[in-house]
């Protein structure tokens, strides 16, 4: 069982994941990059929101201007050691100006949630034993940060300068 944590609370997942060869159901859908490339015009012509699920080898920059058509970009962690999605999220937020939902899906650890939050993730598909309380704790273990990222958090350098 999985559940969704979004903006710090449990949330309903409104997107229907659609296999590459399945028919499109009504309502918001979540498709792969391959499916999107295949059915781009159909998907964008529908009067519902579209989410895309990118594998860790798929650079979101290749979406080009289409990036802003998506309300959700799910970034996959095929195994928790694969850290490419940290860069994809950062690029989506700070370079491509993506303001929709960036969701972490796949295999990641409690101990990575804060890093994910920092680079721009704002939703997490988590296993049943992962609670909102754990989520909040993960974000507060470390108070300050040394480097700017996509979370807009003041860095230690800025805090020093403001003393």
């Amino acid at each position: 069982m999985t559940k969704l944590i979004k903006s710090g609370a449990y949330a309903q997942d409104v997107y229907a994941p659609v296999a590459d060869d399945a028919a499109l159901p009504d309502g918001p859908v979540l498709v792969s990059l391959a499916r999107f490339n295949e059915d781009r015009d159909t998907l964008l012509a529908r009067n519902t929101t579209v989410g895309i699920r990118l594998q860790s080898s798929e650079n979101p920059e290749q979406l080009g201007a289409d990036v802003h058509h998506f309300a959700l970009i799910a970034l996959e962690f095929p195994k928790f050691r694969d850290g490419r999605a940290f860069s994809w999220a950062r690029i989506l937020r700070t370079r491509l100006g993506f303001i929709g939902e960036i969701r972490a899906v796949g295999d990641f650890l409690y101990d990575q949630v804060n890093y994910q939050h920092r680079v721009g993730f704002d939703a997490w598909e988590v296993s049943d034993n992962f609670t909102v309380e754990m989520f909040q704790r993960a974000l507060t273990e470390m108070t300050n940060v040394y480097q700017p990222s996509a979370d807009g958090k003041k860095t230690i350098r800025e805090l020093r300068a403001a003393r």
């Binding site: 050691r81 950062r90 990575q112 300050n144 040394y146 480097q147």
Partner: protein, 561 residues
């Protein structure tokens, strides 16, 4: 203490402010939580592994090993005493200085780790990112701030890099480890070109100081010398540039084969030109966002911590006379300091017969006293597993030498054939195929005669117990690689490597030698050099002139050397 009047001296080095202290303190408690989850079984070993590695904790053959970061190799006497205390209290009374200028404790219990980390935090130390697939502890030239060869002290930049890379959210799960070194002169004592990324402080033709950035060097099973990525990065752009290199690496590196995931593999697969292009593009994007620029006031603030100590003036610049032993030591272990009357003294942890890089608690305590009394409270750890007193008055050198003799650390062999780098090898490491330490000891004993060592001159032997090359065998003038052949340890010879400014990768001679033959084979190789060298040639120069053949013939006994 040596001298009851000697007080602990606080050297001019980076000091934590309340933000650094809070950061390290919280990191300790975070890791203590991870340890507790492992001990309770909530985390599997597979899940715990990357977490513990990011905090320098390895599971070795016999016990946990904890690797303590010594940022850019700089230690205060207070920190040295704390390391001695930890060795005494939680380990078997010794520590091991590594080729990454860190200190390892080899016999640690998991339950003790949180307490050790709290003790370290008390003296502004930590184990953050001393292992794992992240940016590792930053190293620097051990003569920083003391040599007149440098453009400026490289440690402020190294400290800035340390802070920027600490728990960097984007680069905590890289494809592989990422090692950075910083140098500031043409002479390279930090093996810059063998690093994933290296920054050399340079001056451009307009006399402006900036940074030359190299990337893609590395040892391991596929050794490469780094390529220059940028000849000159402006001061305030440096973090943006480093972030660009890391991002390209994180995005584009292979992830399908652990042996092909270092940045050196990426750069050599796509070519340095393409890599430069990708970095440049990323660099421009990062610059456009503007958040990575390094303000001058921050550079100034960090630099201020490393202000030179007040050197006494009016000291005699003459080297004191204190006998032949002392003169021998001065010849190899004492280097020119930028202030008249001062010298840089290298303490080789390589007395023939000892384990390279090991120091007991008692030895660490005495070295801490020496630091306070004779080197403004400071010592440096070198990648050659030695220690350096950076600011010693020449007139104090005989007293320092006498004390080192009592410690058995007075070998006049810095840079000589017995100043051997060796990894822990099969005695400790579960990756190793063969033992390194006994081989280092056997070679050191064979060449124990000092006159002979001095007659041979500069000759760097580096020994690794497996192809991961932690003992830097590729960069040895004579490298030795331990291999396992059907349960028996063999040792291959690798000749002609260098980790200095004239970096080169050593060439494998051929089939390995047995445990009892390798030291003799080294001797036959050295004898070829002695017989063939021309005026002033080091072993490396003679090898480069003659090539492998005469050395190989002699090593395998085809001709009498």
């Amino acid at each position: 203490m040596l001298n009851p009047l000697a007080k602990q001296v606080d050297p001019n080095m980076y000091r934590y402010d309340e933000f650094d202290a809070q950061f390290v303190g919280e990191r300790v408690e975070q890791f203590a939580g991870q340890v507790a989850r492992r001990l309770s079984g909530e985390l599997t070993e597979d899940q715990f592994k990357p977490l513990r590695l990011m905090n320098g904790l390895y599971l070795q053959l016999h016990a946990y090993m904890l690797r303590v970061a010594v940022p850019y190799g700089t230690l205060s006497s207070k920190q040295m005493r704390k390391l001695a205390h930890i060795a005494r209290t939680y380990d078997k009374d010794f520590g091991h200085f590594t080729t990454r200028t860190n200190l390892q404790f080899n016999w640690i219990k998991l339950v003790d780790v949180p307490a050790i980390l709290r003790e370290l935090a008390d003296v502004e130390m930590h184990c953050i990112q001393t292992s794992g697939n992240c940016v590792r502890n930053v190293t620097a030239d051990q003569f920083a701030g003391a040599t007149d060869e440098e453009i400026e002290d490289p440690r402020p930049l190294a400290e800035i890099i340390r802070q920027w890379s600490s728990l960097h959210p984007e680069f905590a799960f890289l494809a592989r480890k990422f090692k950075i070194a910083v140098g500031a002169c043409e002479k390279d004592r930090a093996a810059l070109q063998y690093h994933d990324m290296a920054v050399q402080i340079v001056k451009n033709t307009q006399g402006r100081i900036g940074y030359k950035v190299m990337a893609g060097g590395g040892m391991g099973r596929t050794p490469y010398i780094a390529h220059v990525m940028s000849e000159f990065v402006k001061r305030d752009d440096i973090l943006a540039y480093l972030e660009a290199v890391l991002r390209v690496y994180n995005q584009d590196s292979r992830r399908d084969n652990i042996h092909k995931q270092r940045i050196k593999i990426l750069i050599n697969a796509i070519g340095p030109e393409e890599m430069r292009k990708r970095i440049e593009r990323e660099f421009n994007e990062i610059k456009r966002a503007g958040t990575m620029q390094l303000p001058q006031d921050e550079l100034d603030r960090i630099t201020a911590y490393f202000t030179s100590p007040k050197f006494e003036t009016g000291l005699s610049d003459e080297m004191p006379q204190a006998g032949q032993d002392f003169a021998n030591w001065v010849k190899t272990n004492v280097s020119k300091h930028r202030a008249p009357g001062y010298a840089i003294a290298t303490i080789t942890l390589k007395t023939p017969g000892q384990v390279p890089g090991d120091a007991t608690s008692a030895q660490m305590d005495v070295i801490a006293d020496l630091m306070d009394q004779f080197s403004v409270g400071e010592v440096r750890v070198t990648h050659e597993q030695n220690l350096v007193l950076p600011h010693a008055r020449k007139k104090d050198l005989p007293a320092i030498f006498a004390k080192l003799k009592e410690l058995d650390f007075a070998s006049p062999n810095a840079g000589l054939i017995t100043d051997i780098i060796a990894c822990p090898g099969l005695d400790y490491c579960d990756l190793a195929n063969a033992r390194s330490i006994p081989i280092a000891q056997a070679i050191a004993r064979k060449f124990e005669n000092l006159d002979r060592q001095h007659q041979i001159g500069e000759l760097k032997i580096k020994i690794s117990g497996c192809i991961n090359a932690c003992g830097h065998h590729h960069a040895g003038h004579i490298g030795i690689l331990g291999v396992d052949k059907k349960g028996v340890e063999f040792y291959q010879l690798v000749l002609g490597g260098s980790g200095a400014e004239d970096a080169s990768i050593g060439e494998i001679m051929g089939p390995g030698f047995g445990e009892h033959d390798i030291a003799d084979a080294v001797e036959r190789v050295v004898n070829v050099y002695i017989a063939q060298r021309k005026d002033g040639e080091r072993f490396l120069d003679t090898y480069r002139r003659l090539g492998m053949a005469p050395f190989k013939d002699a090593a395998y006994g085809k001709v009498a050397a």
